[in-house]
């Protein structure tokens, strides 16, 4: 639903409502005017009738009474009769629907008898008179089943009235004749009371009918005016909204992203305007709001065109940049991860260095202690060595002596050996001899028996000697080999001892050097220990720094992660932007 339709609808609704209100107000107003008019007419009628009664009562009746005397002529002397007669003479169509009655609760004429509603009004008027008010009343009442506006004025009974309406005996003779007293209700009136009233009734239906007629006119006129107004509104709205619609179309094109189309539409519009200026009734003049709007739209479209073009280009550039950034961030992240790993390794290494250097410091202290202990021990060792050297020198002498002795023993043993050999040979030869002797004895037969026994004994001795000699020989040989081994060992030992002495001397010198060097080492150890301490502290500081660095690297990595996700989001956002911007068709982009 466009604005024009809305305007039309709103205008129509407004006009209709206004018309209805106007018609309603009009009819209300008309009704009151008519009512007032009717009231005025009714009053005029009422007071005319009253005047007729007064004329009849004050002018005609006294004169008639004078002329007639004691008789009674209704046509001359009854005021009600006169009033009713006058009213009946008014043509029905000129009565405006009004009705007039002289109603009484004690009527002489039964036609004038007040009905229930009239009696009520009369009673009300009597009360008003009694309170000192004017006995006049007007208001709505239902009479004979129809709603009526009633204007009533009560008649106050005067003493003069009592002649005819008081006691019957006071009434004129003619009257009594004309209206037999028994059937007549017109007596018994009370002075200074209201017992009859002139009542004019305006039937509401009549008023309504008049008003209704006028209302129809009013409605017809309203509809006519409404139609004219709507046509006018439509024309007016067209005048306003045609350029606006063009702008709206352009705006829709812009909204649809067709900036190129919008620009062309505007250009076409301007071209048409400049070519046929007299045919376009809604020309956009510079001063006109719509013209200004169109100009603004034109400018806006051009600006938007360049802006969107730039945005598109920028979007592409941003996408490229974001992709590059993402790639860089990925590389950075990988580098950071590697760094973190390296840092962890460095940290671990530096921790190890720290631990190792602390251990080294401890070890260094121990080494320094050991070295000084070693120096002391080396000093003691040197002293011990010089003692040992002397002892060894003595040992060399003793060994030489011992060796000499052993050589002597060996010589003696050799002698023994030759003796033993001789003994062994002797024993052998003895054995041989005994053998031969035994053989000879055997050959000698019985003569050789004794000799054979001797030979056997000799051989046993020789054998024993030989065995003993062999034993001795074995022992001597063993001794000799032992002695010569001993001599050799002694020689070797002696040589070794000599070498030992030399080595001991050398070792002593070396020990002296060691002591000197160790004594030199001590201050250096101290320096090294201090250096180690410093290194340990340095390693600890490095470790702490590395751990801080590692945390920093971790944070960097986390930041890079965030950065990466931000880049991804940026990329998505730019992609979204590009998608959005891509809807715009741009000229010359």
């Amino acid at each position: 639903m466009n604005i024009k339709t809305k305007f039309m609808l709103a205008g129509t609704v407004f006009c209709v409502v206004l018309s209805i209100a106007a018609v309603w107000a009009d009819s209300y107003f008309l009704q009151s005017i008519f009512f007032n008019e009717y009231k005025e007419k009714a009053k005029i009628l009422l007071y005319s009738m009253k005047a007729v009664r007064a004329q009849a009562g004050t002018v005609i009746r006294p004169k008639a009474t004078e002329l007639i005397g004691d008789g009674f002529v209704t046509e001359l002397q009854s005021t009600s009769y006169t009033a009713n007669g006058v009213f009946s003479k008014i043509p029905k169509e000129d009565r405006y629907g009004l009705s007039f009655r002289t109603a009484s609760i004690k009527p002489r004429n039964p036609d004038n008898r007040a009905n229930e509603a009239e009696a009520e009004i009369i009673k009300m008027l009597d009360d008003m008179h009694e309170k000192g008010q004017k006995p006049a009343w007007q208001g709505f009442r239902k009479l004979n089943g129809a709603e009526n506006f009633i204007i009533a004025v009560g008649e106050v009974n005067e003493p003069s009235c009592m002649k005819c309406h008081g006691r019957p005996e006071d009434a004129p003779e003619g009257m009594r004749k004309l209206y037999p007293v028994a059937k007549d209700d017109g007596y018994g009136h009370l002075v200074n009371h209201v017992e009859s009233a002139e009542i004019v009734a305006i039937p509401v239906a009549a008023v309504e009918a008049s008003v209704g007629k006028l209302r129809i006119y009013s409605v017809v006129i309203s509809i006519f005016i409404l139609a004219i107004a709507l046509v006018g509104i439509n024309y007016f709205l067209n005048a306003i909204f045609r350029p606006v619609r063009r702008v709206t179309d352009v705006a829709q094109q812009i909204a649809g992203g067709d900036l190129q189309g919008a620009s062309e539409s505007l250009d076409a519009y301007y071209d048409g305007y400049s070519r046929q200026p007299e045919q376009t009734e809604e020309q956009p003049k510079e001063s006109d709001e719509t013209g200004k709007l169109l100009n603004s739209f034109n400018t806006m479209t051009h600006n938007l065109n360049s802006l969107v073009g730039q945005v598109q280009n920028s979007g592409i550039q941003v996408t490229t940049s974001a992709t590059e950034i993402a790639a860089s961030a990925r590389q950075l992240e990988a580098t950071a991860a590697q760094q973190a790993v390296s840092l962890n390794e460095v940290s671990a290494t530096s921790n190890e260095i720290f631990a190792t250097s602390q251990q080294l410091t401890g070890t260094m202290g121990e080494v320094a202690d050991m070295v000084s202990g070693t120096a002391t021990l080396a000093g003691q060792g040197q002293n011990g060595l010089s003692d040992m050297e002397q002892i060894m020198r003595r040992l060399v002498k003793a060994t030489t002596t011992f060796s000499t002795r052993l050589s002597a023993i060996n010589e003696k043993a050799n002698n023994i050996g030759s003796i033993i050999t001789t003994i062994a040979k002797v024993a052998d030869q003895t054995n041989l001899l005994s053998l031969n002797a035994a053989i000879e004895a055997e050959k000698a037969g019985e003569y050789g028996l004794g000799f054979s026994v001797v030979a056997r004994e000799i051989r046993r001795l020789a054998d024993q000697t030989g065995v003993a000699a062999q034993d001795i020989e074995h022992m001597v040989t063993a001794m000799q080999s032992a002695v010569s081994a001993g001599v050799m060992e002694m020689d070797k030992f002696s040589e070794e001892v000599r070498q030992g002495v030399e080595e001991v001397t050398g070792v002593g010198g070396m020990l002296g050097q060691i002591i000197a060097q160790v004594q030199e080492l001590e201050p250096r150890f101290e320096a090294v220990k201090e250096g180690m301490q410093t290194q340990s502290e340095g390693a600890q500081q490095i470790s702490e720094a590395i751990s801080q660095l590692s945390e920093a690297a971790e944070q960097t990595r986390a930041s890079l992660q965030e950065f990466k996700s931000a880049t991804v989001q940026l990329n998505e956002a730019v992609q979204g932007l590009r998608n959005e911007v891509a809807r715009f068709k741009v000229s010359g982009a």
């Binding site: 040979k425 030869q429 053998l435 035994a438 053989i439 055997e442 050959k443 054979s452 051989r459």
Partner: protein, 160 residues
């Protein structure tokens, strides 16, 4: 009967002492070239050239060791020419004699043709002793050649 005991290898053997002329110490022999390996060489005994047979080499295969107890048993030997000769038997550990009776000897039950010199067996507490038959010690061919040639050699020597 008296047996002269000797050893060849680890076995004990015996020679009838009635055949023994004398037991002499082993000396260095004159070697006989091209002779069998069990011929130890030649020995001069009281002017006689005595061929010496190594019993250890003959019986056990290994020549006798040069010990004091290794001696030469000189025995009477009837040569191929029928004359009395002296034969030297080189043996190890010739230091004992044993008194025994002829009837205690028992035949071995097996006689090898290569060793006809191995005779009856005698048993004592230390084991068995085999008697060497001196006449069968030398192989026939050697006995012939040996003593003919020795005779000539002896003649040649005596002639000088």
């Amino acid at each position: 009967m008296l047996l002269l005991i000797f050893y060849a290898g680890k076995e004990r053997y015996g020679i009838d002492s009635t055949r023994v002329i004398e037991v002499v110490p082993s000396v260095s022999f004159k070697s006989v070239p091209h002779a069998p390996s069990y011929v130890a060489g030649l020995l001069s005994y009281r002017g006689n050239i005595v061929p010496v047979v190594d019993l250890s080499a003959l019986i056990g295969g290994a020549p006798s060791k040069a010990l004091l107890s290794t001696r030469v048993i000189l025995v009477e030997y009837v040569g191929a020419d029928g004359g009395e000769h002296i034969l030297g038997l080189l043996a190890e550990r010739v230091t004992e004699t044993l008194k025994c009776r002829e009837e205690d000897f028992k035949p071995p039950g097996i006689v090898a043709s290569e060793s006809p010199y191995l005779g009856d067996l005698f048993v004592d507490e230390e084991g068995m002793i085999q008697r060497i038959e001196v006449d069968a010690v030398l192989p026939e061919e050697l006995r012939k050649s040996l003593f003919t040639e020795t005779e000539k050699v002896a003649d040649a020597l005596s002639g000088n």
